[in-house]
């Protein structure tokens, strides 16, 4: 095992670099991703090392980026797109949902769409409107797309490579508040396949489930709960579409309780779908209803209020208490 400690952003960069080295058909497209290396420097030095034809600073037009990536995929390329911020993916929403997601189906399999759309998402960076949102449910709801979200540097390194190797379109949700979080990266072997969920902390009393940046918050809550005598198991969903229910159901059958936490608003969210499925499939194992802790169903507020809007460890613990009280 070759371990290296890297920040999430550097691990992503290393994963992108590896994918470009491994396959000359991989190319990067996005705004300011060339000389600047992206506003979060995720593509730093890639244009310098792979040239302007493989790392494209595109015109400032998201629909244009996704639409031309579709044409490039038809011509045999494997485009990897960077959307600069979550709230700016919507100009491309039409191309993603009416074209990209459906083209393999429309071609009855004769054409595949190996395109990755990287979207830095979520709050806790104190930014202005449209820069802190969690739009993953729109994509998870769309047949034909795969949606994943790494929560650790190791997952960032491996999942980006696995997403690029997929012949289906993958929406790659990057929890941007974790870009600077450091962790051990195994440069030799991926821990689990792309579309797997994973237990990241074992416990016996209750199962805490979440994705992206919220996994770190769940672990914080679990540590506090332990001090208060409640043993929490934590599951990182990792893949939002498809969802790997095995580890989640196994855990819930063991603990009998579950809380889902997410930065997205709760109504019609990924957490809602997972909660409903767990109730369908593990009903007799449950000691309490599955609870959800989400952002409020209001627009993302001005950043000074984001700490109130987004679930934190305290709000998760409040749900843990409610669940344990049944």
């Amino acid at each position: 095992m070759s371990l290296e400690t890297l920040p999430f952003a550097k691990a992503l960069n290393a994963g992108l670099r590896k994918a470009m080295e491994d396959d000359s058909r991989v190319l990067m497209m996005g705004e300011d991703i060339g000389k600047l290396g992206g506003v979060f420097r995720i593509t730093e030095h890639l244009q310098r090392d792979f040239g302007e034809q493989r790392v494209l600073d595109t015109p400032l037009a998201e629909s244009g980026i996704v639409g031309t990536a579709i044409g490039l995929a038809m011509a045999g390329f494997r485009p990897v797109i960077e959307i600069q911020f979550d709230g700016f993916v919507f100009p491309a929403f039409d191309q993603i949902t009416t074209q990209l997601a459906k083209l393999t189906n429309r071609h009855e399999g004769a054409v595949t769409m190996p395109i990755v759309i990287r979207i830095p998402y979520g709050g806790h960076i104190g930014a202005v409107e449209h820069h802190q949102e969690s739009p993953e449910a729109y994509f998870a709801h769309t047949p034909g797309l795969r949606v994943v979200s790494p929560s650790t540097p190791n997952d960032a390194y491996w999942m980006i490579q696995e997403a690029i190797a997929s012949n289906d379109p993958v929406i790659f949700m990057e929890p941007k508040s974790r870009y600077w979080q450091k962790g051990a990266v195994d440069l030799e072997q991926s821990a689990v396949p792309l579309h797997s969920s994973r237990v990241v902390r074992t416990g016996t009393d209750i199962t805490l489930v979440g994705h992206g940046a919220m996994v770190t918050t769940l672990l914080q809550a679990a540590a506090i709960a332990e001090g208060e005598g409640t043993s929490c198991e934590v599951v990182d969903v990792r893949s939002l579409s498809p969802v790997d229910y095995g580890p989640i159901l196994d855990s819930v059958r063991k603990t009998g309780r579950m809380v889902y936490a997410q930065e997205a608003s709760g109504h019609a969210s990924v957490g809602s779908e997972i909660a409903a499925t767990v109730m369908e499939r593990a009903f007799y194992a449950l000691e309490a209803p599955v609870l959800r802790v989400s952002a409020y169903d209001s627009p993302f507020p001005p950043a000074k209020l984001e700490g109130t809007f987004l679930p934190d460890a305290d709000r998760i613990l409040e749900a843990v208490d409610r669940s344990m009280a049944y």
Binding site: A61, G109, R146
Partner: protein, 375 residues
Amino acid sequence: MTSSETQFVRVLEADGRYAPNAAAEQYLPLIEAISDTELEQFYRDMVVIRAIDNQATNLQRQGQLALWPPSRGQEAAQVGSARAARAQDTLFPSYREHAVTRIRGVDTLGIIKLMRGVSHGGWDPTDPVNGNTRLYTLVLGSQTLHATGYAMGLAFDGRSGTGDPERDEAVMVYYGDGASSQGDVHEAMVFAASYQAPTVFFLQNNQWAISVPVSTQTRVPFAQRSSGYGIPSVRVDGNDVLASYAVSRIALDEARAGNGPRAIEAETYRLGAHTTSDDPTKYRTSDEEQSWQQRDPIARMRAFLEGKGAAGSFFDEVDAEGAAAADDLRTRTLELGPPPASKIFDHVYSEPHPLMDEQRAWREQYEASFEGGQA
């Protein structure tokens, strides 16, 4: 005024007289090199597709198709441009390019499948028999970006612009006056110009976007807009198959040679309804329709060929071919049954997906649970 404002290329007058206007002068060597056989082929293409198109319209009226977007009136723009493309070129149609697709080798039954509700595709663009013709796209303008991306890929791969016209490839994308207002068309032009992609934007201005006149989409000629993006652009009489052919040949040659994108605005008219769900009497006058009927592309070409001495038997033979093709299409349409229900789950993803597997299995079990199980 830019040159695109003044250029309007016409070779054949509405009555079929060969009378090239000043803008057509540079195209004359090309036009005069067209063989009699090719001229007859252009005519044949137009007549046969009109017969097929009329048949499909009838099939819809008789309840055999959910919808049909008639191409009647737009045959010259389509035949001229499609015949101008080389075998190695790739064409991205919108959804009314019945002549274009047929010329490239696509069986019109594929379009029927789309309109009958048995497929969302209809043919395999990667199968060489289909002449590099991509699928129809129903979301207006989306395909202009796909075409531009594809053309960027050709340039990146050195499949274009090497100076060898036998091998260099270009891309032609079709869209209409309504689609021209979509942001995707504008973004496609920005990308094509920025990357000097070998894309030819072929706009059929058929004057009406369902019920909305072209004056609502633009107050300047479309060719002026595309030239504003730095794309050399030309307007052509889209009911003149010779002019449509010539401007398309030159535009494709330029794109293929690596000189960047080109744009063509073909002025034509949708003689029929937008689709069979539409009622043009609500928004346009019969005077207007009559005036365009006088400029019918097929009658024009026929008069030209007659002037050149084509035999009456030739026209009879072409009419018979059209009638036979239409009959054949009817027969094969009526034979098209519904797709198997399992198709719902096929090719949603190219790699295994648990939801598809679970739902396919559930449905089979559900069907089998009825008496005499029908899974």
